[in-house]
């Protein structure tokens, strides 16, 4: 008996800019079932048995890399995780050479993080298997946005017309950009909030994201919000002169109890981690009753399992 199917299969997950709402919904359904597996007596199913997943992280990441690793292992894949130190980049090997090497080792999936925006597209051109973007430069971080979407959907149901406030360094954030694609596709009302130096020119927003609201006051933006998502403030932004001081940033754009109280009564507080507690989020909010930050981590494994499953079905058909 064949189950209901959705759109034609994808080979890679590089960005969320071309995903339909139906496709996102079917991924949410799959992630729900994957989450069940993590609560079974045997937290492993044989779906990817005999397949090889190679994690290639040219930028440091503990969270995303271990999440992908656990997800692949829960599906019984063989996993090899390489950090920047393990590759021969320092010996002058190019990205494409590295991909050819990994391919010759028999990899079926590459999960990659790289500082260069767009690099997963280059890798996808030279790799016969599937590529999952684990974060590229300022461009995209699709699996993070999908686990965020999963967490919001789990708590709030349908996201159409829900008010989602993303606060922080929007301009340099791949997490924000991928979330914008996913959330606007699902019909959420998105507000991006931060100081003008971290939001970028109004012209860009008008032309690219006409339906996204811009705010420079978190006090105002937080009112009636269904989701408050704080982004990590990278310290190099301070050095670049984009911020007057951490203390001032925290006072104006930090998630504190007062701001959470002005939101909807069932608001959820999110953060992609790792957090600068006391800067973009206060410790009592991070561990408070509205926080779903730990759930985001659990859901990350389930959503990444869903992505592997999504790419695996029909991979040997064409």
């Amino acid at each position: 008996m064949s189950s209901p199917t959705t759109t034609p299969r994808r080979r890679h997950v590089l960005d969320l800019d071309d995903w339909s709402a139906d496709e996102l919904r079917s991924l949410l359904t799959i992630a729900t079932q994957m989450k069940d597996i993590l609560e079974r007596p045997v937290k492993q199913v044989p779906t990817l048995r005999g397949k090889i997943v190679v994690n290639m992280f040219w930028e440091d990441s503990t969270r995303t890399r271990s999440s992908f690793e656990l997800a692949a292992k829960a599906l019984s894949a063989n996993v090899l995780s390489l950090g920047a130190k393990d590759t021969s980049v320092k010996k002058g090997e190019s990205l494409v050479d590295t991909v050819r090497t990994v391919q010759a080792l028999g990899a079926d999936y590459i999960v990659m993080r790289h500082g260069q925006s767009g690099s997963p597209y280059l890798v996808a051109q030279h790799f016969r298997g599937s590529v999952i973007n684990g974060g590229d430069g300022r461009h995209a971080h699709p699996s993070q946005a999908l686990l965020d979407l999963f967490t919001m959907h789990e708590r709030l149901g349908e996201l159409a017309d829900k008010k989602v406030v993303i606060v922080g360094d929007i301009l340099h954030s791949r997490v924000a950009r991928s979330n914008l694609w996913a959330l606007t596709t699902m019909g959420a009302k998105v507000v991006v909030c931060g100081p003008p130096t971290l939001i970028g020119p109004a012209k860009y927003w008008q032309s690219t994201w006409p339906n996204v609201e811009i705010s420079h006051s978190l006090d105002h933006a937080a009112e009636g919000a269904d989701v408050l998502m704080a982004l990590r403030l990278q310290h190099e932004r301070m050095e670049g002169g984009l911020l007057p001081s951490l203390r001032e940033y925290s006072r104006r754009f930090g998630l504190n109890a007062t701001r959470v109280a002005s939101a909807n009564s069932n608001v959820i507080v999110m953060h992609p981690g790792p957090m600068n507690e006391g800067v973009e989020i206060m410790p009592d909010v991070a561990t408070g009753p509205h926080s779903v930050i730990e759930t985001q981590i659990t859901n990350g494994v389930a959503m990444r399992m869903a992505l592997f499953y999504y790419l695996a079905t029909g991979s040997e058909q064409v």
Binding site: S3, T5, T6, S26, Q33, P41, T313, G314
Partner: protein, 178 residues
Amino acid sequence: MTPKQLMNDEEIRRALKRIAHEIVERNAGASLVSLVGIHRRGVPLARRLAAMIAETEHVQVPVGELDIGLYRDDLHSRGPAPILGRTILPELGKRIVVLVDDVLYTGRTIRAALNELSDWGRPSAIQLAVLVDRGHRELPIRADFVGKNIPTAKNERVDVQLSEIDQAQDSVVIVQED
């Protein structure tokens, strides 16, 4: 070729009734029996069997549901991503588990279900009940309880419709495929 009906709702009801009796007879009552339906149409069939057993034996048999999507051996040649159903199982240890499915064909679904069950626990025995056995086994698997044996050709398809899922009257039809 127009679909040909092989069983109507009344025939399906009688076949299930008989299977329910056979399950009770074979296992000397129903007190140790658990029913596990395989997604999708095995699930309502398992519920119906449980209701029939409850009627005659006054025992509420635990009913579970099993989705074997992640245990398939043909996942990589199928696609696009099939939506997975839920797997909710009662305690399996020391129980006689009767797997329930609508059509038994190659046996690969049952192979996957057996693997999945053994990841969940260790039943004292596993038996298999199917509404239709259409032959063409590719694995050494047979059913313990069969509603109807229907000889088929490989280019034919057996479609089971159940009111719970298909919003149509219960029926089993055979369709010729090109």
